[in-house]
């Protein structure tokens, strides 16, 4: 990735213009051709810098009203096994292991989205029972302060 790639990603970070030739417009901003914009974006996908180039969905508008982060306390020696087990649930969109902090012993995190809080709680109970973790917290998002794509 070179400096022009960085400038290209910054130029696209708030979304490409919804115009017939969006990559041409982006290229004009950077002083490069439409073909080069396309070639560079493809190369960034091939090299893995981009997971993909795609539409990001606004959940609220689609009726996915409840989004819960479930924090799990997993035994350290079972962390990988339990992380993989939780990740296998279709309702889990994200699953991470993380460092703990003083007074906060939870080390595994899953995100679930659903149409209601009750749904999310049921999912959490089901997951807890099936993987065998009994210490967890379900944290619902009650207000969105910010949601963007990751930026360079």
């Amino acid at each position: 990735m070179d400096d022009l790639d960085r400038r290209l990603l910054k130029a696209c970070e708030n979304g490409i213009p919804l115009q017939p030739r969006p990559y041409k417009l982006v290229g004009e901003e950077l002083g490069i051709s439409e073909d080069e914009v396309i070639a560079r974006l493809r190369a960034l996908i091939d090299s893995g810098v981009l997971r993909r180039f795609s539409a990001s969905i606004g959940h609220l508008a689609l009726g996915i009203v409840a989004n819960a982060m479930i924090a799990w306390r997993a035994p350290e020696d079972g962390l990988d096994r339990l992380g993989r087990a939780l990740a296998r649930f279709p309702s889990v969109t994200h699953c991470y292991s993380r460092e703990t902090a003083n007074g906060w012993p939870y080390n595994l995190y899953t995100m679930v989205h659903s149409r209601s809080k009750e749904d999310c709680l049921q999912m959490a109970e089901e997951m807890a029972r099936r993987v065998g973790i009994d210490d967890y917290q379900v944290l619902f998002s009650e207000r969105e302060f910010k949601k963007t794509n990751a930026r360079i």
């Binding site: 970070e13 539409a55 689609l62 989004n67 992380g83 889990v92 998002s141 009650e142 910010k146 794509n149």
Partner: protein
Amino acid sequence: MQEGFPLVPRPFQEIGEKLGISEEEAIARISWMQEVGSIRQIGPIIDTRQLGYKGILAAIAVPSDRLDAVGARINSFREVSHNYLRPGPSGYNMWFTLSAPEERAAVILEEISSLGLPLIVLSTRHLFKIGVKFDFL
């Protein structure tokens, strides 16, 4: 479009062809979806781990009368991608994610820490899953 937006000179024309509508209609429909918030944007999804960035989930305990001010301060960092109010028994109620080179992440956390509120920093160890698709759409 969730899995991949066409990287071709006339992407909306290509989408229109798949759906049996004109390029113009594809643009009009997508513009509408963006306006109402069904689609946030069309753009690059960066894998910041590939750039060696540190991924952090952090939570801060914010008194209810300071939510807006603290939220605005945290959001002012472009490296903060998500920030939600998630109340819980621990008292940590504002949860945000941050992705940046390690030194920059430390600077941001130091500035947030200087607000004087209890803060926990939970660095990513391992990513087991990251998905986007919503099957019920």
